[in-house]
Symmetry: C2
């Protein structure tokens, strides 16, 4: 049964964490709002958000439909997809650990978002720029290094020593770690590079994910939307480390 | 086997979502950092966060130990506890839906936190007060009503019509909805009251949770820490609606 992903069609955003899992596994899926067929396009996404009868109404995109299942929240979608796409181990303890890492990566993504929107999502960046300058400084100097350092420790302590976050195989947490590293490198090229110099294992993990054959093919395809200042990771040069 | 909750001893914070689940179910648990016995107290919490050998190292409190399991992130802890405490239904679809609601409540909690810390967690409130005034306004006028309105719809659309968010029994999402309503009533007494006037089902749910016998007993006990300006929900009068 095909997976239907509902997300904004022109940004990577939080939907990208789901796209990466589907792409890695070579799963059959439709990126509904980007489609042009019947029941596709942005209207289909908006209908899903405003469905007056839906029991499991999403609060926001992304959401996934799969048969009778409708699930929103990127981390919950990955919790659902993990076992189906072979992206988690069998035992509960391992799955819970991977989910916990994902939730922490989601916190990092939220903090990255708030560097350019510290005051409110309904306002433009230009209307909260002084606040953004302050928040970005704290993010670059304290928060990003703290999260990266934690991920580095996890890779170091994974007793299989294979370079992944959990166990000896790729999990959705590795794909998400790749994505957050890629996003922060785009948004804060200088600060992210400086932070990653201290976390060589995380840097290697990101490089290894990018070279997984299905991911490499995806990244080179038109399905991979480019980073932009409309997404969750935004490159505003003034928010990065000074030169 | 007893549950060991590790969280800051003097605030409700994000640990309270876990405490409520344990208290509702009458589970045997130790609130480790609040204990005075051997291996308890704040030092035990700090050791858990800095354990140089832990494979499943928490990024931040709260975390739960249960036998060999160590799990952090309030939502992941509840995912683990849900089936063990009888706080979720049997089927996967229902459990996933409850988890998705929990993650959305967690987003609301994070936004509530950022009203008093829009610039950075490492700074004092007084050092980000102008920014907090702006962010709180957006939160009161747009974000809190949006989240409350969504929860209201879920209660209305729950086809068992029992007044809970999912199905005909209390789940951890109901306990968490109660907590976020209680927290926002403390932090923003005028704005929360105004918003809740438009969401009578959510207001009723919160009242019904408070009257569950085990919860009522807990709220009246010394185990329930008082809200304060050290927690995630903070009452700074200037951040609430003007009189």
């Amino acid at each position: 049964m095909i997976y239907e992903l509902y997300y904004w069609p022109e940004i990577q955003g939080r939907g990208e964490f789901v796209r990466l899992a589907l792409e890695y596994a070579g799963a059959g899926y439709v990126d509904v709002a980007r489609g042009e067929g019947k029941g596709q396009g942005i209207e289909a996404l908006m209908r899903g958000l405003k469905d007056a009868h839906a029991q499991h109404l999403p609060f926001a995109p992304p959401f996934l439909k799969h048969g009778k299942i409708v699930v929103a929240q990127a981390a919950a979608i990955l919790l659902y997809l993990g076992p189906r796409l072979g992206l988690v181990p069998e035992e509960e303890a391992g799955r819970l650990w991977i989910h916990q890492i994902q939730l922490t990566i989601a916190d990092l993504v939220a903090e990255a978002h708030d560097t350019h929107h510290p005051i409110g999502v309904a306002l433009y960046y230009k209307d909260q720029k002084p606040e953004a300058l302050r928040r970005a400084e704290e993010f670059r100097e304290t928060r990003m290094p703290k999260y990266f350092g934690w991920l580095e420790k996890l890779i170091a302590r994974n007793d299989t020593k294979g370079g992944w976050l959990v166990g000896k195989s790729v999990t959705y947490a590795d794909l998400s770690a790749f994505q957050v590293v890629a996003g922060l490198r785009y948004a804060f090229p200088r600060a992210a590079a400086a932070s990653l110099r201290k976390t060589p294992k995380l840097r290697a993990l990101a490089a290894n994910v990018a070279e997984l054959p299905t991911i490499e093919a995806y990244l080179a395809s038109s399905r991979r939307i480019k980073f932009s200042v409309d997404g969750v990771f935004r490159h505003y040069p003034e928010l990065d480390d000074p030169e």
